[in-house]
């Protein structure tokens, strides 16, 4: 992992079209500005982890086929 030290107002560029700016630091929090093209998805890691965790739970669904039959069907 590349580790850099930056001050508020300073930026990092990734490739040609992604810029990350350190906007402000306040106690233990850092505000970051990200400029990236639409095709690049920028997400908090928590969202990934949430979906990963949900996928694992879904994969462990106890398979009691009856519950699937009890569910309502849209007419």
């Amino acid at each position: 992992m590349l580790v850099l030290r930056r001050r508020p107002g300073e930026k990092i560029r990734i490739g040609n079209d992604i810029t990350i700016e350190i906007l402000e630091t306040k106690g233990r929090q850092v505000r970051i500005g990200i400029e990236a093209p639409d095709r690049v998805s920028v997400l908090r890691e928590e969202v990934f982890l949430k979906i990963e965790q949900e996928n694992r739970q879904a994969a462990q669904s106890p398979v009691d086929p009856t519950i699937l039959e009890e569910l309502p069907v849209m007419e």
């Binding site: 639409d38 690049v40 990934f48 949430k50 979906i51 949900e54 669904s61 009691d64 849209m74």
Partner: protein, 152 residues
């Protein structure tokens, strides 16, 4: 080709029915090949069974089978490219279903991370939508004829 599965025993898979997820499904990056088949003749549920991991199978449902108002989203360009999507008719959306019996019996669908499949190229991916708009657990009530009007 014959594939061994934990839940369904040995199943016969036609190679042109295989759906490939180039990036896998979040949490299961090594499972790339899946097959989709209905839970039963009249069921609204489909199984998404991994061909790379015999234990791995998801229950899925089409969003059109549940009452979710305004469930629509744009497929990002990079995903359209990866799945070789040229027109909307090629796209099928599935939601992963989570069934748990603890602490109580519940059935929820994941609206935050839908599965999109190009039914022509048979390529698939899991999207990540806006967590402010879509819950990861959207309940579908296990009761007959119950109106489903939970807010998303």
């Amino acid at each position: 080709m014959k594939i061994e599965t934990t839940r369904f025993g040995i199943i016969d898979v036609e190679s042109d029915k295989i759906i490939t997820f180039p990036q896998g499904i979040l949490g299961f990056p090594h499972s790339k090949r899946f097959i989709l088949f209905p839970h039963g003749d009249k069921s609204i549920f489909w199984w998404l069974q991994s061909l790379d991991d015999e234990d791995l199978a998801f229950v899925t449902i089409s969003p059109s089978a549940i009452c979710t108002e305004n469930y629509s989203f744009k497929i990002p360009d990079d995903v359209q490219e990866m799945l070789k999507i040229k027109k909307p008719e090629q796209v099928e959306v599935l939601l992963l279903v989570t069934i748990s019996d603890k602490p109580q019996k519940s059935v929820t669908v994941n609206l935050l991370g839908p599965i999109v499949i190009n039914i022509e190229t048979r390529l698939g991916a899991q999207l990540i939508l806006d967590p402010v708009k879509y819950p990861v657990k959207y309940p579908i009530t296990p009761a007959k004829n119950a109106p489903l009007k939970e807010a998303v």
